[in-house]
């Protein structure tokens, strides 16, 4: 294998691929970074921990095709410290690769690349095409309410569901739920369900280019996101997601419209008082919803109290109930738009938070704190 590549471009792509590599992986091949050159002047870089896999393709002047695996820990650090020049890499006979920069050179031991797992590309049973920015947006909305508790794995993932010509994204940490969707998708099936680890989707949102079209391939156990020069693949989470449609109420006794910033500011002040409730983690904020005003109050016995009034527009009944302030803050911080609507039934039933005019592509469901 022999090729020439720009240091900066190589480094940028190594850093992306490196996100899928654990340098502590006990399998030496998986703690390494895979390089492959083809005769069409392309360098393919891959990394995986078998859960997540990332592939990046960059241009390089290829003199000789080949594939090798280099220890990521050393290779990435060395490339980071090299001068910003063209690097000439070539394999030598004793399983070493020579990196030439100017009149200097470094040699690194490498592994044969033929054994490297091939998980980075496949054709899915379900194939769809969506716009990059739609995907990033859906992921960042869903991301807020995923669980990190590995005892219930399905809640550490986000449900991707094709239904009624829409691609639905549903996530839940068991106390909250997020539903959002992407319309106008190109797809080859009418119905599909997969649970994708939220951790993997976070990397997808971070890596892919928002202005590109993304092709998604899904099989029974893996998903692949393909853009022009980047591929991200992930294992899927086994299991059946909760029946989200059943838990989302359709009718409400109380509906309020409120300026998002007023509510968020108020909740953040209340949170200062309750954030040290380490054990209970309730951060309880009491909502007293009156005709024209929402009264927010919170009490932390060892810190103090807060009382605030925020003007609202109420349709329906007055109601009093409690919420975990932190849960609400995380949701509100993630919503665009000036105004939101909060829809409630009773103090023990889920509340629904939505955007208003033209910002209605998502809903957040939140369960109250039952006040004793």
């Amino acid at each position: 294998m022999k090729f020439t590549v720009n240091q900066k471009e190589l480094l940028n792509n190594l850093l992306i691929v490196n996100k899928a590599i654990s340098s502590k992986n006990i399998q030496p091949l998986l703690s390494g970074i895979y390089l492959e050159t083809k005769d069409d002047n392309k360098l393919i870089i891959r990394g995986t921990d078998m859960e997540l896999g990332i592939e990046s393709e960059i241009g390089a002047l290829v003199d000789e095709a080949g594939k090798i695996v280099l220890p990521s820990k050393y290779f990435v650090e060395i490339v980071r410290k090299l001068p910003m020049v063209d690097l000439e890499l070539s394999t030598e006979e004793n399983n070493q690769i020579k990196i030439v920069y100017g009149s200097s050179e470094i040699k690194l031991n490498y592994y044969e690349g033929s054994e490297y797992p091939s998980i980075h590309d496949f054709i899915g049973e379900c194939v769809l095409k969506i716009k990059g920015d739609d995907l990033v947006n859906a992921i960042s909305l869903s991301q807020v309410v995923v669980s990190t508790d590995m005892t219930r794995p399905i809640f550490t993932g986000i449900l991707l569901e094709i239904k009624n010509d829409k691609l639905n994204f549903v996530s839940s940490d068991t106390h909250r739920l997020c539903y959002t969707y992407i319309e106008n998708i190109e797809k080859n099936v009418d119905a599909w369900e997969s649970i994708v680890p939220a951790k993997s989707l976070k990397e997808v949102a971070y890596i892919i280019h928002e202005d590109e079209e993304i092709e998604i391939h899904i099989t029974s156990n893996r998903i692949l996101f393909k853009s022009r020069n980047i591929k991200v693949t992930s294992r899927l989470i086994e299991g059946k997601f909760v029946n989200y449609e059943q838990v989302i109420p359709k009718e409400f006794n109380s509906q309020i419209n409120i300026i998002k910033k007023s509510l968020l500011d108020s909740l953040e002040r209340a949170f200062v008082l309750t954030r040290d409730e380490i054990k209970s983690k309730l951060n309880t904020v009491k909502f007293n919803i009156k005709e024209k005003v929402l009264i927010i109050s919170s009490r932390a016995s060892e810190v103090g109290d807060i009382y605030e009034e925020i003007p609202i527009y109420l349709q329906g009944n007055e109601i009093e109930l409690g919420f975990n302030g932190k849960y609400l803050i995380e949701i509100l911080r993630n919503i665009d738009g000036e105004e939101i609507s909060i829809n409630l039934n009773d103090p023990q039933s889920p509340g629904i938070i939505k955007g208003t005019q033209g910002n209605e592509k998502f809903i957040y469901l939140i369960l109250p704190v039952r006040l004793q």
Binding site: H175, V242, V247, S280, L367, P368, V369, R370, Q372
Partner: protein, 413 residues
């Protein structure tokens, strides 16, 4: 005001009480031990006569009997011990309101400022010692000093029915030459590690310096440094004060080794009934469960898990125990002893409950209601009046097992 702390240690407490209960045993080698049939076969306490034969606390009854064939083994009567212990407390309380129990037979008393009433600390110690001997019929060793650590050390040094004192002006002379193992908080492992650094006496430890002890032994090392130099100023807990409970557990050695998971579960449930009841009485719920198994090769295994919700309901504790057991116990040997413990306790009084989509709170409400009923019925009709159906069959828990008393744990602070 000069601090004056007393430490009173009732001599050979269990054995002495047994002899009191049954005067025929007077002057004979007696040990208190679990019943041999039910295999709690170790020496819990011994009389002076038994001690002369070299019988040691903690050895098996078989070993003890081989040293002293005419040894009399009596089963423990914890209720009696508790009664006598409380009588002694009454006497302590007549001298000061600051009395802190350290186990069933030891107490610290803060008698600072009582000179005008009862005389010097030494005289107060004498008074208490004589009063307990006369009124209860138990001899005590009394240690008198200016802090709890040295008071305890003095009572350890004092023989049966004796009193020892040490003060700021002479502790270096008296205490520093003693082996470091005499100091409260220095156990077998610490002693070995200290010895490796050449620290053999309490004086060595005192002089080695704060930084050294902290860097080599961590926080506990720093405490030892403080203790050795007589800097300990920890309070004697006042009347009615109690250290916060950190966990509630129960364990038992089974009547026979067990190879059946259902029986193990039965025992866990039986134990959990007591654990849950005690937690209910304390007004706490556990957020986690710790299961300790000792197998027939006497190897120990300890497993922990978190609960979905805080609970003191016996079936919740036992079910968590069973899941742990299933997931972690390899069945290399039959099970000999089981302990189940509620850990990471929180108050049962909460300001609110975060509701959820998957029925965790529904379960919590249901099980905690069951736990509440179990504890109420037990209060009204006694232990065993309401139980689980699966416990109706033989479950290898020794008959007449008593509630354990709270034993001292770790190092005092």
């Amino acid at each position: 005001m000069k601090r004056a702390i007393l430490h009173c240690d009732m001599n050979n407490f269990y054995a002495t009480v047994e002899v009191k209960m049954n005067p025929e045993l007077e002057g004979k080698p007696v040990v208190v031990g679990g019943s041999k049939r039910e295999r709690h076969g170790i020496v819990l306490a011994k009389s002076y006569e038994a001690k002369k034969f070299g019988v040691r606390t903690g050895e098996t009854l078989n070993d003890a009997i081989s040293k002293c064939p005419e040894l009399i083994v009596v089963p423990p009567h914890f209720d009696e011990y508790l009664l006598i212990s409380n009588e002694a407390r009454e006497i302590y309380n007549s001298f000061t309101d600051k009395v802190e129990s350290y186990g069933i037979d030891e107490c610290w008393l803060d008698i600072s400022g009582t000179e005008g009433l009862f005389g010097s600390p030494y005289e107060v110690g004498m008074l208490i010692k004589e009063k307990i001997k006369e009124e209860i019929g138990v001899t005590v060793s009394v240690g008198v000093s200016f802090n709890k650590i040295f008071a305890k050390l003095c009572s350890d040094l004092a023989g049966r029915d004796e009193i020892r004192e040490v003060w700021e002006e002479d502790f270096r002379k008296i205490i520093w030459p003693l082996p470091v193992g005499c100091l409260l908080g220095v156990g077998y492992a610490t002693r070995k590690k200290l010895a490796w650094y050449g620290i053999k006496t309490i004086g060595d430890l005192a002089k080695v310096g704060e930084d050294f002890m902290r860097s080599k032994f961590g926080k506990n090392g720093w405490y030892l440094y403080v203790y050795a130099n007589g800097y300990d100023v920890s309070r004697v807990a006042g009347f009615g004060e109690r250290a916060p409970v950190k966990s509630v557990g129960h364990g038992t050695t089974l009547v026979a080794d067990v190879v059946d998971e259902e029986i193990v579960y039965g025992v866990m449930l039986e134990l959990s009934l007591d654990v849950g009841y005690r937690m209910a009485k304390l007004g706490v719920r556990a957020r986690g469960v710790e299961l300790t198994i000792r197998d027939s090769s006497l190897a120990f295994f300890s497993f922990q898990c978190r609960l979905d919700f805080p609970s003191s309901c016996p079936s919740v504790l036992a079910n968590a125990g069973r899941s742990l057991f299933r997931a972690k116990y390899a069945w290399a040997f039959p099970v000999r002893a089981i302990t189940i413990r509620g850990i990471d306790l929180v108050s049962e009084v909460v300001s609110g409950v975060q509701l959820d989509l998957i029925g965790v709170v529904d379960n919590m409400d249901r099980f905690n209601r069951i736990g509440g009923v179990l504890s109420d019925v037990r209060d009204r009709f006694g232990r065993g009046s309401l139980s689980y159906g699966v416990l109706l069959s033989d479950n290898k828990v020794p008959e007449g097992r008593r509630l354990d008393t709270v034993m001292p744990s770790g190092i005092i602070r």
